[in-house]
């Protein structure tokens, strides 16, 4: 028995079992950074892209950092425990990458003033809690234009997750883009009430196609809708990551989130001791939103998309430029003006031309 015990101790200490309790000398120099994901890293969408960002940090900063992650964390009380565990395990920089992690992140941050937190897509900050997000609606304006050019039925099928402002703004941006090409474009929206539910996403795509939509867009995390579109010979847009391998004949482009530049910059800032709480909202210009190659479309459509993209980067085109009217006809943005960021971030109304109701309104 004693022999087994001493063997166990030897193995344990050899492998650094005590790591959590007694930080070894060399570990202390490394910055420990952690990521919390709402879905599996293998979703090929939202969480996958965040994990690509984590890997980019490892690659860029090498020996100076040690990263870890927890996937499939439910939004709610479990999230607080996971974040707390990460803070207690000695991580000094923690990225929480879903809106529902907002309150848990703030609660844990209060207890660990020396740990920096970065919360994606939220709006509450603290001295050691930053927020960051990407202007996905810029990409959605472009795909709206492409959809209007490519659709024969004049109907977009849109698979939406939850009716939060970011998703509503995405629907509006796509519609505004589509209307700039064809003012009579229609959109059909299905809410799957989940970020990641491949079966539901696929069913929603099929239902939309059955209802006459011939261009599919999604604001959910899996490539299931792309696969459904490929199977039914209609075109579609990828979301979060380049989904071309799931729809080689269907994908027109994809709105790709690239968190790498931001993650590297923020991790470097902690290493340099220059990290401060901030709110960053980058778009195509900043490299946070990347359009996947324009494929499966005629040259003139591709050219139009590229022109629009260039105009957004140059700042000459704002997806929410006036005039914009709500469904009931009230004018929200006048000609020559653009919607303020705070109004985009709290959007809960549809633009004129969308024949549907925002759920819960």
């Amino acid at each position: 028995m004693r022999k087994i015990l001493s063997m166990a101790v030897a193995i344990a200490s050899g492998l650094g079992l005590a790591g959590a309790g007694l930080p070894a000398a060399q570990a202390a120099e490394k910055l420990k950074a952690a990521w919390v994901y709402v879905g599996p890293v293998g979703d090929f969408g939202w969480s996958y892209q965040h994990d690509q960002g984590r890997k980019a940090v490892e690659k860029a900063l090498g020996d100076k950092v040690e990263t870890t992650f927890v996937e499939n964390v439910a939004e709610g009380p479990d999230a607080e425990r996971v974040i707390e565990q990460l803070a207690r395990a000695g991580n000094k920089l923690i990225f929480t990458t879903s809106f529902g992690f907002m309150e848990p992140t703030l609660k844990v941050a209060k207890r660990h003033p020396n740990v920096m937190f970065e919360h994606a897509t939220g709006f509450k900050r603290a001295k050691n809690v930053s927020t960051y997000n990407a202007k996905f609606h810029e990409g959605r304006y472009i795909i709206g234009q492409i959809a209007a050019k490519m659709s024969k039925t004049g109907t977009i099928g849109y698979i939406a997750s939850f009716p939060i402002p970011e998703v509503i703004a995405g629907i509006n941006a796509m519609m505004l883009g589509a209307q700039s090409v064809n003012p009579d474009m229609k959109i059909k929206i299905v809410w799957v009430n989940s970020w990641f539910d491949p079966a539901k996403e696929s069913d929603a795509a099929k239902a939309l196609i059955d209802q006459g939509a011939d261009v599919i867009a999604q604001h959910t995390d899996s490539p299931a809708a792309m696969q459904a579109a490929e199977g039914r010979d209609v075109v579609a847009f990828g979301q979060s990551s380049d989904m071309i391998k799931f729809g080689p004949d269907s994908q027109l482009t994809a709105i790709v989130d690239d968190w790498s530049p931001y993650y590297i910059e923020r991790t470097q800032a902690v290493l340099d001791g220059t990290w401060t709480s901030s709110d960053v909202w980058g778009g195509i210009k900043d490299g946070e939103v990347v359009m996947a190659p324009y494929t499966n479309m005629p040259d003139d459509v591709k050219k139009m998309a590229e022109t629009t993209q260039a105009a957004i980067v140059a700042g000459t085109l704002h997806p929410f430029k006036g005039p914009i009217s709500k469904q009931d006809g009230t004018l929200v943005v006048k000609e020559g003006e653009a919607l303020a960021d705070k109004d985009i971030l709290s959007m809960n109304w549809y633009v004129k031309g969308i024949d549907d109701k925002v759920p819960g309104q």
């Binding site: 492998l15 079992l17 996937e71 009380p77 425990r81 990460l86 939060i164 009430n193």
Partner: protein, 358 residues
Amino acid sequence: MPLRLERQENISPLRHAMAPVVAALVTLVVGAVMFVVLGHDPLRAFTIYFIEPLGDAYMLQELVVKASPLLLIGIGLAFCYRANRWNIGAEGQYVAGAVLGSWLALATQGTEAGPWVLPAMLVLGAIGGALWGLIPAFLRVRFGASEILTSLMLVYVAQLGLDYLVRGPWRDPQGFNFPQSVTFDDVALMPLLMGEGRLHGGIIIALLAVVAATFVLGRTLIGFSIELAGSAPRAAAFAGFDEKRVTYGVFAVSGALAGVAGIIEVAGPIGQLQPTISPGYGFTAIIAAMLGRLHPVGILVASLVLALTYIGGEAAQITMRLPFDVTRVFQGTLLIAILAADILVRYRIRRVEGTTHA
């Protein structure tokens, strides 16, 4: 080779007690093989999984916090399952209780309401859960509808109802239109029991439920009528027990306990209403009830074990960077081993000789 399970009579208490121990050993062996194949040191994995979460006061509190909703719901389910009534919809009753209880928290928000708010919320939570649970009971008694289906379907109704409320009428006006209610006032929050950590008063309620349920199920006529309705319905009818009353009774108790669990969770660790208030407690509690052999004390142990596998699984992800799926496979192995051990203790596998039916 055809095999058959044969029920064993006269099982020795020792065998009964040893079954979970054997199951745990089998899990450890299977787990060790899995970890070695994946290139991890099994000893280290087990330490992280089962020992480290017990090693500090904060994590112990987390263990109890995670176990208490499972415990409350599981005890309620034991009433149903003992009576052979299959309530699969505890998740919905949990949500219904949380919604009705939260109504009071939101109605008194910002007023001078006194310390009566929290107890009243708990009562409303019980009522909400019980009413939700009585729907499948009514459908079964009145129309003979399968309570398995109706209770399960009502889960989605409850969840979508909650979803509607937090996106619509109960949304925090200051919350940038995000789907969540305001955070509750202090009088509407569960008191914390320790200075640091999240251990809250809900665990006391859960432990009281263990004591009360043990007494009712084991020592009273009500408990006997439930047991009899489950094991020998005809005998129960001859003995004069009303089958309908049993159905309504067990669903009401089960729903009420799930509802209380829901409002405790919302007024405790969450502190506000949001679209998701449960990571599937209502379903996991079914496993807790089964593992605990439908006995309140057994369910207490089972809830703690289940909570440990969740928390240990997270720790393994953090420390060893094990994928989520591996931690789930490990949990699954544990459950299958326990259920299999249970079957093998109570039944004997017999080879069936010949093929008489041919």
